[in-house]
């Protein structure tokens, strides 16, 4: 429940930020609204426990912004080549993380980072299928992901 | 200012009508959607056009200093958009159900209310 409360605070702050007035009345109102918002998703809110690691999430976010810029740059380089010859492929990435939220984060990060795009997660949640825009060596890509993102995610959420 | 938009509106109407004159219910609906836009643009243009200045009053004034876009047509169009959207949604689902039950997308094959071979009226007394 504490986590719920936490995220509610978070929503209240978001509200205040959006409306641009941090007066207590507005925060209070934001809290009420946030409560309303959470009420809608009370069933799914089991996952909110992870928000307790809010701090580390910031760090992760930074990494991920950097990666995003890189990947965008890479796309730019690819598409501006006079002749595009790539070896795309869909690889099966064996997941270590097993919680919905972790999987989700990982999948999103992968999508937003260079040359990879999560297509699907296997029913047993053991495998993440990733489309790579250019995979001369699939294993290299897999390791790359393992060492950069999955590790980060694990240390953020465990 | 208006000319370009006016011509565009004409095009909108033409396309809308052309689509509505299709025998295919779905294309008719696309036509109706476009017709809605055409009408909205028409009302909007009737209030005369001016570039960019929205009808908002700055937070430190009671009446705007600069000339603003005509707000009334905007309000009317807003109402019209909402209404045409509601009707569009309804007709869409209606078409869907009609297709389900009558098994036809070609409106000329929808002949249950007015059967092809209609009974002739009774004679005699």
């Amino acid at each position: 429940m504490t986590s719920l409360f936490l995220i509610n605070i978070l929503l209240a702050i978001t509200w205040a930020a959006i409306t641009g007035s941090f007066s207590e009345i507005n925060l209070l109102f934001g809290f009420v609204l946030g409560f309303g918002g959470l009420y809608l998703i009370r069933e799914q809110a089991g996952t909110v426990a992870y928000f307790s690691r809010f701090g580390k999430a910031i760090g992760l976010a930074l990494v991920f912004v950097r990666e995003l810029i890189l990947s965008a740059w890479r796309v730019a380089r690819i598409v501006t080549r006079p002749k595009i010859d790539l070896e795309p492929g869909i690889i099966a990435y064996p997941l270590t993380v097993d919680r919905d939220f972790e999987i989700t984060m990982l999948a999103n990060l992968i999508t937003l980072t260079p040359g990879t795009l999560s297509v699907d997660v296997s029913e047993d949640r053991k495998t993440l299928y990733v489309h790579c825009i250019d995979v001369p060596d699939p294993q290299a890509t897999i390791d790359d992901i393992k060492n950069v993102f999955e590790r980060k995610i694990l240390e953020v959420f465990r | 200012m208006e000319t370009g938009v006016v011509i565009l509106i004409g095009l909108f109407f033409s396309v809308a009508v052309y689509l509505m004159l299709s025998k295919q219910l779905v294309r008719m609906l696309l036509g109706i959607a476009i017709l809605g836009n055409a009408v909205n643009l028409l009302i909007f243009t009737n209030g005369r056009l001016m570039r960019e200045v929205p009808p908002l009053i700055p937070s430190d004034l009671y009446t705007p200093l600069v000339k603003i876009a005509n707000p009334l047509p905007q309000a009317l169009v807003l109402t019209a958009i909402v209404i045409s959207f509601s009707f569009f949604a309804f007709l869409l689902v209606l078409a869907f159900r009609a297709y389900q039950e009558l098994g036809a997308d070609d409106v000329n094959q929808m002949r249950i209310a007015e059967p092809e071979h209609d009974q002739t009226p009774p004679q005699g007394y």
């Binding site: - | 009737n46 209030g47 209310a113």
Partner: protein, 528 residues
């Protein structure tokens, strides 16, 4: 900073004079129906409570409209400006004899339908909103009759249109879906034309308030200028579609026989008449000169409509479809009034509108009873109803003669007024068409009568013999629910036939109100 902190002269922007409580009657119909509709919609799943609620609100509506009419007769034209914003800026509801009369009759019809529906609409129909639809349909109808703002009129048109969709598809029978597609698309086109015309009119005059429009159009040095002419023509087409006039009447015969019979009854009573009302209001009051130079066209349309309707009625073997065409024929008569445009003609049209509203509704209800008694809507399968119920037979005969315009029933008076007006306007052909259409209608209804009532049984019954009628006397025939509404409407028809004076005065007053809209303008702008 709050607006209150500056000093503005409210009196230049808002009506500051206190509003008499009785003037809230102007908005009462809209309020009652919206609140009632919303309430019924909230309690949608309580199918037992719904009819009680619905009928209650409809009864309130009738009372309100009655009060409104009284008020109008006492005080002349009355206006309420919504939000107190001075006309032409805010939306004004301006009620004259014409609006009040039609609004009252319409609400009476709705109430009757509400009663009738307790039998003919099942729990599924109630669950999926019969009463909300009916109430909000009335919001649209009354709003359309009472409003004094052209765009607002458009909004009410849409309200009653969407409500009518809901009623039309209630039950989702295949035939209904088919009818609804045609009804839906064609009517949507009609209202879009209305909207286009209104947009253009705003572009020309820069105003939406009807009284203001009337003033500005009158002020134009050339009221027949091209753009205005186009606008007028567009309005005519839009309202003609709404009114199901030839040659844009397709939607009506394609759909009116498809829904639950009580829905047909409501439609027949209300929908097309709103179109006619709008035609009168806009053409006679707002764009008189346009009406002037379009008179011949309108007359032509009227004649064509009269004949289409009457011939169509003769061509059917399904009673509800016959009635659908009779609705159209009636519209022809009203258009004739608009074509001539004199006070006499218009009062004839108004009287006829009232008559047609009542009689068509009653006929469809009778049709429903026919089905309950005889087990079919088809003339080939009907028969022997005369033995089945002499009272019902009498009622149907009265309705049949009334719709044919035979004396001494309500249809007779407007008919002679219209013929008279047509003759004095030198439009003998129009007069002839009215009479001939009446003749064909007599023939059509006579045929219905001899087949469904006098003949001993369905087609093929041996001559001189009576066979047991198909439909077993349905339980739903017991109790007042079906008979009371039909009785009330028939009584009105006979009353207006035997005692036409009141309606005559009312319609004359309504007509002169639109021909000479001075009272209307005064009521909106005050004495200037």
């Amino acid at each position: 900073m709050a607006g209150s902190s500056v000093s503005v002269d409210y009196s230049v922007a808002m009506a500051t004079a206190p509003v008499a409580v009785a003037d809230w009657l102007i908005v009462a119909p809209s309020l009652i129906t919206i609140l009632g509709g919303a309430l019924c919609l909230m309690l949608r799943k309580n199918t037992d409570l719904q009819p009680k609620l619905g009928i209650g609100f409809l009864a309130l509506l009738v009372l309100a409209n009655f009060g409104l009419l009284i008020r109008v007769l006492d005080h002349g034209v009355i206006t309420m400006v919504m939000g107190s914003w001075l006309p032409p800026f805010g939306i004004a509801f301006t009620v004259d004899a014409l609006s009040a009369t039609l609004s009252l009759i319409g609400s009476i019809i709705a109430l009757c339908a509400g009663f009738y529906a307790t039998v003919s609409v099942d729990s599924s129909g109630r669950r999926y909103g019969f009463y909300p639809f009916l109430l909000l349909l009335m919001t649209g109808v009354c709003g359309a009759f009472l409003t004094g703002d052209i765009f607002n009129l458009y909004v009410w048109f849409e309200v009653l249109l969407i409500a009518s969709y809901g009623l039309l598809i209630l039950g989702n029978d295949r035939i209904q879906l088919d009818g609804a597609v045609k009804y839906g698309v064609l009517n949507l086109i009609g209202t879009n034309l209305f909207l286009i015309a209104t947009g253009l009119l705003y572009g020309i005059l820069g105003t939406l308030n009807m009284a203001d429009i009337a003033v500005k159009v009158a002020a134009l040095e050339n009221p027949a200028s091209g753009t205005l002419a186009t606008v007028a023509a567009l309005y005519f087409l839009a309202f003609a579609m709404k009114a199901a006039a030839f040659p844009v009447n397709f939607w009506l015969p394609a759909s009116y026989h498809t829904p639950n019979v009580v829905v047909s009854a409501v439609f027949a009573g209300l929908l097309t008449k709103v179109g006619v009302y709008a035609l009168i209001r806009v053409f006679v009051m707002l764009l008189p000169s346009s009406r002037g130079y379009m008179a011949d066209v309108i007359a032509l349309v009227a004649i064509a409509t009269l004949l289409t309707g009457a011939l169509g009625a003769l061509a059917q073997s399904e009673v509800r479809r016959i009635l659908g065409y009779l609705v159209i024929a009636g519209i022809g008569s009203m258009l004739a009034g608009v074509a001539v445009g004199s006070t006499l003609a218009l009062s004839g049209a108004i009287f006829y509108a009232v008559h047609s509203m009542i009689v068509m509704t009653a006929l469809y209800m009778a049709c429903g009873i026919m089905k309950l008694l005889g087990g079919s809507y088809n003339l080939r399968e009907l028969g022997g109803l005369y033995q089945r119920s002499a009272v019902f037979a009498a009622v149907f005969l009265i309705l049949g003669f009334a719709v044919s315009g035979l004396p001494p029933f309500s249809g007779f008076w407007p008919k002679i007024m219209l013929v008279d007006a047509a003759f004095s306007d030198g439009r003998s052909w129009l007069a002839a068409a009215i009479l001939f259409s009446g003749f064909l209608t007599t023939l059509a209804m006579g045929r219905v009568w001899i087949y469904a009532f006098w003949r001993g049984g369905p087609e093929g019954t041996p001559d001189g013999q009576a066979v047991a009628v198909a439909g077993p006397k349905s339980a739903s025939l017991n109790g007042a629910a079906v008979w009371l509404p039909l009785g009330v409407l028939t009584a009105l028809i006979v009353y207006f036939g035997l005692q036409p004076e009141w309606m005559l005065q009312l319609s004359t007053r309504g007509a002169s109100g639109v021909v000479e809209p001075l009272g209307y303008l005064r009521s909106v702008f005050g004495d200037q």
